[in-house]
Amino acid sequence: MAAKKKEEKTEFVNKQGKRLDGRTTDQVRPIKIQVGVVPRADGSCYLEWGQNKVIAAVYGPRECLPKHTASPYKAVVRYSYRMATFSVPDRKNPKPGRRDIEISKVSSEAFERAIFTERFPNTAIDIFVEVLDSNAGTRIAALTCAAVAVADAGIPMRDLISGVAVGKAGGKIIVDMNKFEEDAPDAVDIPMAILPNTEEIVLLQMDGLLSKKEWLEARGKAFEAIKQVYELQKQALLKKYEQPVEAAENGGVVQ
């Protein structure tokens, strides 16, 4: 939060509409998804999103302990977002911080909407996500990866969860900001996730100074980008059933 801001004069989008990393304002970084990378888990997924690398595993529905935390009406979803100590420029304290806890909370709530929890009373569905490398947008990368892992576990969902972080840098609304853009002096960050078929918003956060008009532009761009993410998630799930999962000679990444 107290991150160093870049010089005011940096031009984040040039006259040709290109960003410093060559992307257009609407363009998402390359995404690679591999399903079923943790044999011991009920469902799992490895995802790369630009430099971000995350792994997710799902256990459940299983017994909900301690018992007083269970619900007789539905499964409890417990989502845990964590970052490896080496996944950030400065070494992260291994103890979960307040940011980790907040992200885990709002992400749990997104999955409570997506999963048909009412079908599994008195159980817990545990979703664990670990960030192995990072460059802005990890909470959305984690959520997107976790949604595929939940599907891989065969847990019935209303829809996958798909998301993107839109934002502002140098006065321009751009999609899927990278770390350099996130450090713009006027940066605004808007992580957002929806159930793509109904366009219900299940996660929405924002920080920065944003006008209502800018919000409407950002929201529009986000919905477009999310459609692309959704297609990649579906393709990865299909691929699992088309070809045998290969051992990770290539580092566990589908090219």
Partner: protein, 260 residues
């Protein structure tokens, strides 16, 4: 004893009323409860306030402390917001280290203030790289009757507006002496909405919070900027519900701001 009230029963009543276009306490869907603000309620705090929204009761105190700046901002002070949901305030609150509820609350209040850029942290540098001011804003819930978010955010801003900057001598704070109030260039306020059945209402009471499927908070400034969003709860919002909530927030805060 309030803890024995049947919440299921009350939830049904809230839902039924909302479906009929009413609220149990007869407010309009976009209407706040009565707000009461008392300033400077603790002499040992550098700034403090007590805010009630209806029966929801929150107290905030600010302490200006000298500390070491962050390595990536060696020439700037900082802000630290903490929340304690005191077991005084509700039969369901427990003593202990901050849980995810109070952490979320603290972080949403923090973002609403910090991202509005109302505080010029550079002014809080004392000696680059070694010493700066940190404002510790500590929020205590005294009675929970719904919408602690907005009460906490409002009490925080009022407390900061009252906060005096301690005098320094040899880089040490002189107890009880001050050199004027700290400066705030904006007054961001938080507005929280509950989605109940298919409606969205402002400033949810406790029975409404129990009946809500989702929560949306937006922090706005007097110059109509949005500075923080937070969606919470197990349900979802449509895009147009969000847009409409933002409009109501911009309208309501103009009224609330008159009371500060």
């Amino acid at each position: 004893m309030s803890s024995l009230v049947s919440w299921d029963f009350r939830t049904d009543k809230v839902l039924q009323a909302i479906r009929e276009g009413k609220r149990l306490d007869a407010r309009a869907f976009d209407q706040y409860r009565k707000i009461n603000i008392v300033k400077n309620i603790s002499e040992n705090a550098d700034g403090s306030a007590r805010v009630k929204i209806g029966e929801t009761d929150v107290i905030v105190g600010v302490k200006m402390i000298t500390s070491t700046p962050f390595p990536d901002s060696p020439d700037a002070g900082t802000l630290n917001v903490g929340v304690e949901l005191l077991p005084i305030a509700s039969p369901t609150f427990e003593a202990g280290p901050p849980d995810k509820e109070s952490i979320e609350l603290a972080r949403v209040v923090d973002r609403g203030i910090r991202e509005s850029k109302c505080l010029d942290f550079k002014e809080w540098s004392i000696e680059e790289g070694t010493l700066c001011w940190t404002a510790f804003v500590d929020i205590y819930a005294l009675n929970h009757d719904g919408n602690l978010f907005d009460a906490a955010a409002l009490a925080s801003i009022v407390s900061l507006l009252e906060t005096k900057m301690p005098k320094l001598e040899d880089k040490k704070i002189v107890k009880g002496e001050y050199k004027g109030k700290i400066k705030l260039s904006r007054k961001p306020l938080l507005c929280t909405f509950a989605k109940i059945a298919n409606s969205v209402v402002a400033d949810p009471s406790l029975p409404e919070e129990k009946a809500q499927s989702a929560r949306f908070s937006v922090a706005v400034t007097e110059d109509d900027y949005l500075t923080a969003f937070q969606k919470g709860g197990l349900g979802s919002f449509t895009a147009s519900e969000i847009d409409s909530a933002i409009d109501i927030a911009l309208k309501n805060t103009k009224e609330i701001r008159k009371q500060i």
